[in-house]
Amino acid sequence: MNLRAEGVSKSYFRKTGEANFFVAVQRTDLTLEGGQVTVLMGRSGSGKTTLLHMLAGLLQPSEGKVFLENTDLYALEDQALSRLRNEKISVIPQSRSAIETLSVRENILLPATLYGHISGETERQAQAWMDRLGILPLADSRPRELSGGELRRMAIARALVSRPAVILADEPTGDLDDENTILVLDVLRESARAGAAVLLVTHENDALKYADVACRMDQGILRIC
């Protein structure tokens, strides 16, 4: 499957100089191919997260459309879009995203729980990912007991359990040490090899080694390198 942005842009109402609105992302075309890792780099505030959220169906673009294969995401009703996101598109957000009242294991199983997809197989998957990412001993802890890097790996495990067609990772290695950074990058590349379309937003120059496609964002303008 591929995820395609066609002419998407995002502007915000905000006083900037003489203009009344601020363009966070200029009209952009981007295709994330299944089986490939697309690395997106760029300075802080250049619009990377904004683009990623639009690709995920989480932020309505000011113009343009986003397609998953032939489905226009923003033409869908909220219920259909939500279900599609649950089953096909996994997001690893830049910020903390744990549900505090659930244990680490329950957080990881939450996407499957929502639509009653829990099975012995999903539980085994969750177990395996926690093990691989080194957070298995924390499975029954509460999120507030975890460090930033541990929470990050929890979010990564949560994104991978459902074997999504698209993985959108927003600085997934942000608070990780070198060893874990390599582990996470490896894991994402494996997912791509298994068929997923992976977008990796990062400041990590090492990540370029994992890229099938690399792009740069500069003041809202996307360039494929």
Binding site: T49, T50, H53, M54, A56, L58, L59, Q60, D78, Q79, L81, S82, R83, L84, R85, N86, E87, V91, P93, Q94, S95, R96, S97, A98, I99, E100, T101, L102, E106, L109, L110, P111, T113, L114, Y115, G116, I118, R158
Partner: protein, 402 residues
Amino acid sequence: MKAWKLPLRNLARKPGRTAALIALTAFLALSMFAGSVVALSLRRGMSSLENRLGADVIVVPVSAKSKVNLDEILLQGATGYFYMDAELLPQLAKESGVAQLSPQLFLASLRASCCSVAVQVIGIDQDTDFTVQPWISRSYAQRLGEMDVAVGSKISADVGENIILYETRCHVVARLETTGTAMDTCVYCSMETLRALLEAARGLNHDLKISGDPEEVVSAVYLKVQEGMDPQKVADSINLQRKFKKVQAVRTKSMFTGIADSLSGVSRTIGLLVVAVWALAVVLLLIAFLLSANERKREFAVLRLLGTSRRMLAGLMWRETALCSLMGGVLGVALAALILFPFAGLIEHSLGLPYLMPAAPTMALLAAASLAAAVLVGSLASAWATHRLSRVDPGTILREGN
């Protein structure tokens, strides 16, 4: 874990928030249930009093005012007696506008060795009575025989037992339904039985201050006026005539005005109290939801990110609050019941007004309505807070405060 357990988990893991919500809704249900039960009991007490009195005008001796007021006996449960000449009866019957009339004869028993209880004893003329008879007939279908008495619900004597009044054995044949009025503390018998008791009292040297033949006295005459006649006019006309100078006619309505006034005062206070409590609780509830919704903004955005639709989110939130307010509602109604039932006597006493609690089905209905109202208010508040939040794109919330 199953999806439906999510709300339960949230409730269990945020005990402070949960307890506050439960307490707030308990407060709502309690005030609504207790307020409506008390208000309804007062209204029922009043209409029961009106029904039981059932007369438009009551004629009593002028001297009754100086000794014991009739309204004190009938409305406040005082005991006393006064007498007037029975010869007035045919004259009153001839008065224009009078449709029906029936005499009653009073005697107060004493808290002394001669009597087993100190009560107001009322003799009724079973051939003409139209006020007490319908009430008695609901528990006792026959005429009251010689030395038979029917007792009000607050008198501790059972059917089949005897009570001793002026060393005379009286047979309890019926216990009357509760009216919530002073009549529940009275004992009723036939005119003949009461005359026998009068004799017995005189035999025991009690000065009943009867002038004339004790066989020829009555205490009060109950009048019903003809359809379309103004009871006040009938009473005024009686009061103006010389032949009736030893008696006075009182409109029963005017006996009620005191009660009706304090009743509407009390009702208004209860109403205001309930409205105030509700306004306060609803405002607190909205604030609580706004605060918790703000605190949970991120949680909602994450749930949306993971594929929860707006409708699912609203459902999850609704179940959480509905559960809370249901628990709160049950708690509130239970607390109200714990106050209302064991302390009914105390409430009645401190209000000093006729007080007749509604029957079980009505109570159940009021309880259910209070519960439903608590759940409804909780649900609306939560729906409002959820709606406010889910209008914003989750992407925007997720970006905030990185």
